[in-house]
Symmetry: C2
Subunit: 111 residues, 2 copies
DNA sequence: CGGATAGTTAGCGCAAGGGCTAACTATCGG
DNA sequence: CCGATAGTTAGCCCTTGCGCTAACTATCCG
């Protein structure tokens, strides 16, 4: 529950684009080359590559190059950053409802 | 598990900024006026208001104006959009590991 | 070797994002 | 009614994001 703010920023920014979410989704089913991935999106390769780099520097994917083909794999770990943030939100909200309950109880005891 | 893409985009974009995440976090503890919220961030009111509007049009918060003060409340429901997306990712990944297990099993049976 | 394939680099254009100031409106409180 | 308070609107600036073309590098294969 730390103050990941930098990571958090990169990850949310990376996911704030439909193309990049599409890549994450696709990679969920297993690794793929840049070319394979790019085929699913209506843009040129250089444009697509930028998305790949964004995802990689956010840590959401990892890539390796073998011969002339670069293979991308999902780094599921990184999605935990989002999960943790959501969990934190739930906690905060929970604390609030706890306070509300306590307040109501106190009111009942001293009306 | 539909194709929310538009909503999803708005919500992720909204959360891709530390100021806006800060507001969401703060509102988790209960409603607050624009002025109260703005006090926590190093920027002018007009700038801050843009973030409020972004959050509101993404559906993450709701605001109402009484007299001269506008009060903001968190719309927790909307965070479910993110939760659902994450759940979907987990599903996809799960399907993959299922296939892998099946593959391994088949290999064992016919070596 | 030589052509096809798979990325990569460089640079450009445009729209959007996020911040600011200045000036205005609309309460509220005395 | 008047001054202070709480937002709001308008417009400007600058950076970043995202898409494109053109040209280049680096394999792979026959």
């Amino acid at each position: 529950m730390a103050q990941y703010s930098a990571q958090l920023d990169d990850v949310f920014v990376a996911l704030a684009d439909p193309t990049r979410r599409g890549v994450v989704r696709r990679l969920g089913s297993g690794p793929a080359s840049v070319g394979e991935l790019a085929g699913a999106f209506p843009m040129t390769l250089p444009s697509f590559m930028k998305h790949v780099r964004t995802l990689e520097s956010a840590g959401l994917i990892r890539t390796t190059k073998a011969g002339r083909v670069r293979t991308c794999v999902l780094n599921r770990q990184r999605l935990a950053v989002v999960e943790d943030w959501l969990a934190e939100q739930r906690d905060i909200w929970q604390q609030r409802t706890d306070r509300l309950e306590q307040f109501v109880t106190e009111e009942e005891n001293s009306p």
